[in-house]
Symmetry: C2
Subunit: 274 residues, 2 copies
């Protein structure tokens, strides 16, 4: 999906909601365990219930890996089920030396490898340019680079001063020498809303993927106020607050309610911006 | 495996060789493609041929992931085939917020999850303490944290000055507040031999996992000179130079020759140290 296509979806749906498919088999409603693939059965209903309110879906790969080979099968089916009009993110936080990042890129972008065809993958920056650029050789595919994350540990290294700037700002600036806003986004935690204005200055056109709204406590209003640009420029992720809104048979309807609530708030913020 | 057990294996085998099982299905000898699981068939013969010379095996997870579910099956069988006396490393370079790192830890350490029971996993430090500590809750299991890697991109961020020190030194120092040498190792590329002496000062007792000897051009003599301590303290990895020493039917014998050559050099360096 291109930058302009993503923008069109945001305008069309009046939403920049990304639904995080962090599907934990220990947390899904009990009645789904009778299904042949409970994780996929859950995801399918979540996708059906939320697709009109969301422009993106982000399976966190850890949740599938922890199930072994059958988890990868659930992931493949889930990805195939997501509507073409939605942007897809493999939240994998990969990154290795060049010849290995090549393989990670094949895994997530080349359907003849592992049966997956994501639009994007999240990548950790620590190993530098040759750990990131192999993902950029796929036309129309994106790297979403960790910059400033939503967790307490973000303070350990991301905020260290490197000369006049914290490390995460160096990451944002250096990475822009590798790719432009058509192939590169940044992860910025919603719990770091105070920094989003500064990041918007450093990367005016880039999309920011913002986790941490909901269970982690970030504010959608704050993130939107500082982060929106004239193409939307945000994908705000919610996972647990949508997926586990109910643990009963009404889980999909309740997920839809939560997604719709966020979409309506987003429509309000977009009306000021677009 | 404990620190002392690993040391005993090093003394016993007179080796600190780690064989990197970066098994690329496109590079294995043609005759193996007739096997039901060519990757496992290759790995089994490599392990049989090298086990007397190696103290550790390190499958790089990217190579298995890129095969989808059957790759995870090859990985599971490979891990089960590695002798108990060898230390096993999931070279996965994972790292995510706490509840997600929990799942990555389960994937690699809890055999009831994905069928895997590695001794250790490589972890990227960018997301800080809560991305690393979930791996440390498993008794007898290890985190091998990226510090200074062997690739060209290591210069982009790892060498940035953060106050008086480069970032990778801060990583080494900060991580020692999370775990001691009984559960924590560091990745230091062999191409960075000039830095190994300094790292040995910062982390005198910790094992260093050193990739980059062989195909990437690092010097075993240099690494050993600056890196060995009174418990060995090094695991030096070779992958491509062993795995692909021959692409014919003699691949396993040629792999054994390469492994033995490295082991003999190592025995020489150990005789000065232990």
């Amino acid at each position: 999906m291109t930058y302009e296509e993503l923008y069109r979806q945001i305008r069309h749906k009046q939403s920049y909601l990304c639904v995080g498919l962090d599907t934990d088999i220990r947390k899904i409603p009990a009645h789904l365990h009778a299904e042949p693939d409970p994780v996929f059965a859950f995801n399918r209903q979540i996708i059906d219930a939320t697709a009109e309110f969301a422009v993106a879906y982000k399976p966190n790969i850890a949740f599938y890996e922890a199930q072994g080979p059958r988890g990868w099968e659930s992931l493949r089916k889930t990805l195939a089920y997501i509507p073409e009009t939605c942007f897809t993110i493999a939240d994998a936080k990969r990154g290795d030396i060049g010849n290995t990042s090549d393989l990670y890129a094949r895994t997530f972008f080349d359907p003849t490898a592992a049966g997956l065809d994501f639009d994007s993958v999240t990548v950790a920056p620590y190993m530098g340019h040759d750990s990131v650029t192999p993902f950029l050789t796929y036309e129309g595919k994106w790297v979403i680079l960790l910059a400033l994350t939503s967790n307490p540990g973000s303070e350990d290294f991301q905020l260290l001063a490197t000369g006049p700037q914290p490390l995460f700002e160096r990451v944002i600036q250096t990475a822009q020498t590798w790719a432009d806003h058509n192939q590169l986004m940044f992860v910025v935690g919603a719990t770091q809303a105070g920094q989003i204005g500064r990041i918007r200055q450093l990367a005016p056109r880039h999309f920011l993927l913002v986790p941490g709204v909901g269970a982690q406590g970030g504010s959608l209003a704050e993130v939107s106020r500082y982060g929106l640009n004239d193409h939307g420029g945000l994908l705000v992720n919610a996972s647990r607050s949508i997926l586990y809104a109910s643990d009963g048979r009404d889980f999909a309807r309740r997920a839809a309610d939560e997604a719709q609530k966020l979409q309506r708030e987003m429509a309000g913020f977009l009306s000021y911006e677009l």
